[in-house]
Symmetry: C2
Subunit: 312 residues, 2 copies
């Protein structure tokens, strides 16, 4: 069966993670890595990013084994992007200790010809002008263009970001970013404001407190799946986005019904919940479709009230 | 139609609220007040509490107009319980500036004979020995005994609280209280621990982040209803509990199906969402069943994904 694919553009990195349970050096990371691994459980994935000459072939091999086309990964002379962070004891917050952009500093995404018809495009958190450049490189109008961004671009590149937003169908950001982007504290009002700027669909992630979808059909909420063990939140948001896009690509959904994107929110949240179970991307690297289906069933039970709320 | 009633025991108070939008002095408050007003939208309510000789007859008249039986409100010589608090700018936190227990210091709940067969009992946050004493005063075994508590009793009266927990079917607390009660950070693990201590059902409230139910059927989550205007979180948790009990009393539900308590969680959260719309109890004082039904329908849409999450 020929399936729609997901194009993921963004960072591929080494992370040094100082966790309460210990320090983990040189862990495979980066937004594109997490999103691609998550999406690959559900659909074929194409990845565009850059790595240095220190990036082991085995990491690319791992991605390929998971169904990720890595021909779009550029290998540049120098070192791979490296990020070092330290998490608080309860994992609720983290501080960046060091960021070495290395080869990522000069990253200019080049979309291979074979990728240019991909109907689902996920623009990871890079300079909004580069995100826009990816949109312009696509041959057809993709069915869904989703983008992430961050406070750094919101405050530093408002004009470029505004231009990008006009070309994006779905913006996926967290609550603090939504507030900074709009200057509005209330998330419902902030969402309405953002949706006037381009994206008809907006997801506001709230970490362990779930995520809100605002789209032409209304507002939808998906909780975070409650876990007994959380080991590392790194990449959870990127896995969320990957799971969302993978589900949509697999099912061909977006505009079909309001439910398509709402169900995708559960796949997204489920993927985020797997991601945090292990340090780095270890859990989603080996996640099976059967494990995912089982979690979705538990997830369904978590929110099942029998469908009606009328007093009768 | 003869309907099951809800017995509410707890504080009746004057609140002085220092809000970002201004200071409001002598606002009708107290856990029992909020819970009774919320429950009264759905079922007959009986209230047991104490007020001072400064408590205006109009407040009791208001309760009665809403279907609350106030014969259990004792009037004692002295002043009514008074609490003064200041909220942070984003309403996410508050500090207590002053607590004057006044007549509440010597409150010993006396359950009127006519209340002693009430099948739904809500024990507001008072000394656990007094809560237990209420349980002992009931004639029949109530269908559901629900209790709230707080950090003050968790740390100060662990033995009395442990004795109470053995007699309670449903404990309703917030996330910090669940963690303090158990010494366990993870809420799923904390919930499992608490449920070994007596209550087979546990609700952990997370304020604007919704609430979790842990019961013999599993774990259930209800989000907080997203609002464009939040004016005063005071009493939201008590309104939540009142809405829950009111729904159960109205529908006769508890053990009937796992869905009864889960639907009750939505009525609880809806009542909490109305409560925060106005300062004090003003919004739930005038809330109609029609307004409640409309919010429940919006709430249903907020979580509607079409029922199935299977990939097919």
């Amino acid at each position: 069966m020929s399936q729609d694919s997901v194009l993921v553009v963004g960072s591929i990195a080494f992370d040094d993670l100082e966790m309460p349970q210990g320090t983990f050096e040189g862990v495979l990371g980066g937004a594109a890595t997490y999103s691609a691994l998550a999406a690959s459980v559900l659909a074929p994935v194409q990845i565009v990013g850059v790595v240095g000459d220190d990036f082991p072939a085995e990491h690319l091999e791992l991605l390929r084994r998971r169904g990720v086309d890595t021909t779009g990964v550029e290998r540049a002379p120098g070192k791979t992007f490296r990020w070092r962070g330290r998490y608080s004891k309860d994992l609720a917050s983290r501080e960046t200790l060091d960021t070495q952009l290395n080869v990522f500093a000069d990253f200019r995404p080049k979309i291979p010809a074979a990728y240019k018809t991909s109907p689902y495009v996920l623009l990871g958190n890079i300079h909004p002008s580069l995100q826009l450049d990816v949109v312009k490189q696509m041959n057809d109008t993709p069915r869904l263009i989703a983008a992430d961004t961050m406070n750094f671009w919101i405050s530093g590149e408002p004009v470029a970001l505004a231009a990008l937003l006009k070309r994006v169908n779905l913006l996926i950001i967290n609550d603090e970013e939504a507030r900074e982007l709009t200057g509005i504290q209330n998330l419902c009002k902030a969402a309405a404001d953002i949706r006037t700027r381009g994206p008809s669909q907006l997801i506001i992630k709230r970490g362990e407190h779930g995520a809100l979808l605002f789209d032409p059909h209304g507002t939808f909420f998906v909780p975070a799946y409650p876990l007994e063990e959380v080991n590392d939140p790194t990449g959870a948001g990127d896995s969320f986005a990957g799971g969302l896009m993978g589900y949509l690509a697999r099912t061909g959904g977006v505009a079909a019904s309001p439910h398509a994107m709402r169900r995708a929110m559960f796949y997204a949240a489920a993927m985020g919940s797997f991601c945090v179970e292990a340090v780095g991307s270890k859990r989603i690297e080996r996640l099976t479709r059967e494990e995912l289906a089982a979690r979705l069933e538990s997830f369904r039970m978590l929110v099942d009230f029998g469908g009606t709320l009328a007093l009768g």
